[in-house]
């Protein structure tokens, strides 16, 4: 029941916030914070009860009938990976509300409704064990996000929202086709027509069918992740969205793509994924380098950070298709640390925008003396983004690279170059924004109390993840090792085939 509560609390909270904002805007904000906090505490309590997750992979499960005549059930389950992603969702969600406290003054109720419903969709995606329900939640994320970008975004918001919507919807429909294909393939083979994830896991199918179905799923996830060349929606959406929108896009929405790869593509289609792995890794490397080089040449601060996301998400697909445990652990770490560090950078960009009303980094500079607290926080996250040891992102990228070295040394060398490139674009942020001469005539007050409340937990968690990553590893270890029971076989086959 607690799993259903995760989703329903957010949905109900969203509706309440919408209604109540007619009378009291602040109360609507508090309701949103409360809903997310309750969910966060529930998540923490699950972790508390299962500190290392040794007993079984699935901590909790919930199944109810929904449309039995089509084999659709309302089936939720949580394991270590889902739990971590949920905690990240609620953690960043709370900051999403806090950061919009002053920024959003227009249609407050509807804003919080959309915010909570996006988060409810994301929560559902991380929990669901029924492919129909998965598609359902996948789409539930979409509409509120469209409004978040399209109503409260910056000057070019309509275009950005449009592009985001069409890209994700088109790729989602391909996934729907693949889901239905899998449904009928499984139904024909076994006689039971079901969308249940566990039943579909070991579906027997020919290599050709498997390849096509996998490509359908892959389409949705590589667009969401995004993998170059399907990334063009991302810079627009990220730079045009309001701060909370960017935070959720970068911190959470992209992770649903990564999660989909780990949860669905690899287990459902083991041999087809092994087949495509070298290509996927190649595209990962292209993404890493391409994203980094474009990030270096941006002048719009939010757009710059958006391109660093493209680069960092390259590591995710790169590591996922390296097919080994270490790389996979790196990927999971990357999902979390990137969520925190990039989210924080967007929050910073938002705070700067609130102060000087521009995102152009050529008109920034010299903030270090005026706003020391903000600058130190900025420094920490810029260093996290470039992969400085001691901060979470380093652990993630290091593990990914070690793991993928075993799979493909040549590509790994190129991927490592991406880390060097990250240094270049990250330091450029530092230099242009915080160092140099103070040029703007606007006053730059330092971070307010509210902003500090947002930044300090983010700083603590990124350092904590850098110094003590083990608890996080423990949580996902079991999930990941189980994943490779099936895949080990196919990888060995594949590597033999290469030689």
């Amino acid at each position: 029941m607690i799993l259903v509560a995760f989703v329903t609390i957010l949905m109900v909270g969203g509706i309440f916030a919408w209604i109540i904002a007619n009378w009291n805007k602040d109360l609507a904000r508090w309701i949103s914070v409360a809903a997310l906090s309750i969910d966060f505490i529930l998540g923490i309590s699950i972790w508390w009860q299962n500190p290392t997750i040794e007993s079984s992979t699935w901590l909790l499960q919930f199944t109810a009938k929904w449309v039995p005549s089509l084999g659709i059930s309302f089936s939720l389950a949580i394991d270590g990976l889902s739990l971590l992603m949920l905690l990240l969702t609620f953690f960043l969600g709370i900051f999403g509300v806090l950061i919009s406290w002053n920024e959003i003054q227009d249609r407050v109720g509807f804003f919080h409704f959309n915010l909570l419903w996006v988060l409810a969709g994301i929560t559902g995606v991380f929990l669901t064990m029924d492919l129909f329900l998965f598609y359902f939640f996948w789409e539930v994320m979409l509409i509120p996000m469209y409004f978040l970008i399209g109503i409260w975004g910056h000057e070019n918001r309509r275009y950005a929202a449009y592009k985001f919507f069409i890209f994700t919807q088109a790729s989602g429909l391909l996934m729907l086709l693949a889901i239905l294909g899998l449904y009928f393939v499984h139904g024909r083979a076994t006689g039971t027509f079901t969308f249940n994830y566990f039943d579909l896991l070991n579906t027997q199918m020919s290599a050709g069918v498997e390849r096509w179905l996998m490509l359908g799923f892959l389409a949705a996830f590589v667009v969401k992740l995004p993998v170059v060349p399907f990334h063009t929606w991302l810079p627009d959406a990220h730079s045009q969205a309001s701060t909370a929108g960017s935070l959720i896009l970068a911190g959470l929405l992209l992770k649903t793509g990564a999660y989909g790869l780990i949860r669905f593509v690899l287990p459902l289609f083991p041999s087809a994924s092994a087949e495509i792995a070298p290509w996927a890794m190649l595209f990962g490397v292209i993404g890493i380098l391409y994203g980094a080089s474009l990030a270096f040449s941006q002048t719009d601060l939010k757009r710059l950070v958006a391109y660093t996301s493209v680069s960092h998400m390259g590591f995710v697909i790169f590591g996922v298709f390296a097919f080994n445990e270490i790389a996979m652990q790196g990927v999971v770490m990357q999902m979390i640390t990137h969520g925190i560090s990039t989210g924080a950078l967007f929050v910073l960009a938002g705070s700067i925008y609130e102060r000087i009303h521009t995102r152009d980094i050529t008109s920034m500079g010299g903030f270090w003396t005026k706003a020391p607290f903000m600058s130190v926080v900025g420094l920490i996250f810029v260093l996290a983004s470039l992969g400085l040891p001691g901060l979470g992102n380093f652990v993630a990228e290091f593990l990914t690279l070690i793991g993928s070295w075993q799979a493909n040394p040549v590509l790994t060398i190129f991927a490592t170059l991406g880390v060097v490139a990250a240094t270049a674009y990250s330091l450029r942020i530092m230099q242009k924004v915080f160092l140099g001469n103070f040029t703007t005539d606007k006053t730059i007050p330092d971070l307010s109390f509210r902003e500090k409340i947002i930044m300090i937990p983010l700083v603590i968690s990124i350092i904590w993840l850098g110094l003590f990553p083990q608890p996080v590893m423990n949580v996902v270890k079991k999930v990941i090792s189980i994943q490779f029971v099936t895949e080990k076989v196919s990888t060995t086959e594949n590597s033999n085939g290469d030689k």
């Binding site: 009938k65 929904w66 449309v67 039995p68 005549s69 089509l70 129909f132 598609y135 359902f136 789409e139 539930v140 979409l142 509409i143 469209y146 409004f147 399209g150 109503i151 309509r158 929202a161 449009y162 919507f165 069409i166 919807q169 088109a170 429909l173 391909l174 729907l176 086709l177 239905l180 294909g181 449904y183 009928f184």
Partner: protein, 478 residues
């Protein structure tokens, strides 16, 4: 043929509708009263529905040689009647605001409903053609009902000429089929085809001409030219009627006829429907993008939706029939809702059809805008709406019989469709300059708001919990 065999209670729905229209006519002769006629219409439609619910839902019978009253027919008749009821509820406020004589409209509405309900249960060329003509002839006058409007004559005339032409095509096709097979009964034609095993040239020509006729009525590409103009020119409730009731009846007829003669075994026929379906999905959606008139957008979107339905029709089988039934329910609800919004926002002078009329609607009439948004999202097939489950059903039936090309085209069409649905939604949320200048001043009637509210609740309910409806459909189709 013995008329006396027919149990009077079996053909009651038709009787009911005919009587109601006659009564309406008589009452007009005595005294014109909009409320009275409206009440009469609603009650008779309601009566038919109750009859279907109580009596017909577990009676299966045929009225030889014209009608077959099976589960499928009964279900869709119920749907048609309820849609007609919803449309008449919307019409009341719409016509109340306009000065012209409004009472005759309800007679036409009842007769058109009767025609469509006949189509759904007919199993003979004669009943088919009679149903079709009752439907079309009522529609000619309904389309141009507000004759003082500039576009009304154009739309009416266009519909008259093209529909008459298509009827002629249809009739000629039927004649050819009859000439070859010697039967006008669907079963008789099927028997003839079974015995011969292949299509002779004359038979093929007959089918071809019938496809042209049916294509016109459905408004599928390449027979779609009339759709946008007629949708634009007709009063909004009539547009809703054309989009739903009149097309739904023909879809069901098509399914029934095809099922009976086992049309799937003739590659030529299947191929032509495949081409029509793909062309409708793509061309309908692409042309809709460029429109600036909401009624025209919905017209093109309905062309595309007819293409989607043809996918399930071509998939055939039990799942195909289920998909068609479910999709029709979703499509009816959504389209009546969407045109309901258009009609509720219209004022005396013109319909709310320009996209500028919707600028910033969300901030002026939040409730109506929310309903419209929900309807458009349902048309686009976004989850939590009936349109999503319907589209899901269509795709499922297509994938089931491995019509990959059609299914991919359906997906592609849906993506293109998003452009214009989202465009309208974005406009409603856009509070740009000029949105304070309200060009339309509609009077809002409670009855309209309630109807729209009920429609959206149903639409969302079937989207979230489709199980009930699916079971009901499966029950009826058994």
């Amino acid at each position: 043929m013995e008329i006396s065999n027919i149990n009077i209670i079996d053909v009651l729905p038709g009787m009911f509708l005919v009587t109601a229209s006659l009564l309406a006519m008589l009452s007009i002769a005595i005294k014109r009263n909009h409320k009275l006629i409206f009440g009469l219409t609603s009650i008779s439609l309601m009566g038919v529905f109750v009859y279907l619910l109580v009596y017909a839902s577990n009676h299966r019978f045929t009225v030889e040689p014209l009608f077959i009253i099976d589960g499928f027919g009964t279900f869709i008749t119920g749907l048609i009647v309820m849609s007609a009821l919803a449309i008449s509820l919307l019409s009341y406020a719409y016509f109340e605001q306009r000065e012209e004589r409004k009472e005759e409209y309800y007679i036409l509405l009842l007769l058109a409903t009767l025609g469509s309900a006949m189509l759904v249960i007919s199993k003979h060329f004669v009943s088919l053609f009679l149903g079709l003509e009752i439907l079309s002839i009522s529609l000619y006058s309904m389309v141009s009902y507000l004759r003082k409007r500039p576009r009304s004559d154009e739309a009416g005339l266009k519909y008259l000429i093209l529909a008459a032409f298509s009827s002629a095509f249809m009739l000629f096709g039927m004649a050819l089929v009859y000439a070859v097979s010697g039967s006008m009964n669907f079963a008789g034609i099927a028997e003839y085809l079974n015995n011969t095993g292949s299509l002779s040239v004359t038979m093929l020509a007959g089918f071809g001409l019938m496809i042209v006729g049916i294509g016109f009525k459905l408004g599928v590409v390449p027979f779609h030219m009339w759709t946008p103009d007629v949708y634009e020119g007709a009063p909004a409730p009539v547009t809703a009627f054309i989009a739903t009731v009149s097309k739904g009846g023909i879809v069901v007829l098509l399914v029934r006829f095809f099922d009976q003669i086992n049309g799937f075994s003739y590659p030529v026929v299947v191929l032509s429907f495949t081409v029509i379906a793909i062309a409708s999905m793509l061309i309908g959606n692409i042309l809709a993008i460029q429109q600036k008139n909401v009624k025209r957008i919905l017209a093109y979107s309905s062309i595309a939706h007819m293409g989607y339905i043809l996918v399930a029709f071509l998939a055939g089988g039990a799942l195909g029939k289920e998909a068609v039934s479910f999709y029709l329910v979703a499509y009816f609800l959504t389209n009546i809702g969407a045109f309901g919004v258009v009609s509720i926002l219209s004022d005396q002078d013109r319909d709310a059809e320009q996209i500028e009329d919707y600028q910033g609607l969300f901030w002026r009439h939040p409730k109506i805008a929310t309903v419209f948004t929900a309807m458009l999202l349902s048309l686009a097939g976004i989850p939590l709406t009936a349109g999503f489950v319907g589209k899901f059903y269509l795709v499922a039936s297509g994938v089931n019989t491995q019509l990959w090309l059609l299914v991919l085209m359906l997906a592609l069409g849906s993506v293109i469709g998003l452009f214009y649905y989202i465009k309208i939604i974005a406009t409603m949320f856009d509070k740009a300059a000029g949105s304070d200048v309200i060009s339309l001043r509609p009077r809002l009637y409670l009855i309209n708001l309630i109807t729209l509210f009920v429609l959206s609740i149903l639409m969302i309910f079937y989207g979230v919990y489709p199980q009930g409806l699916i079971e009901r459909i499966q029950d009826f189709l058994k």
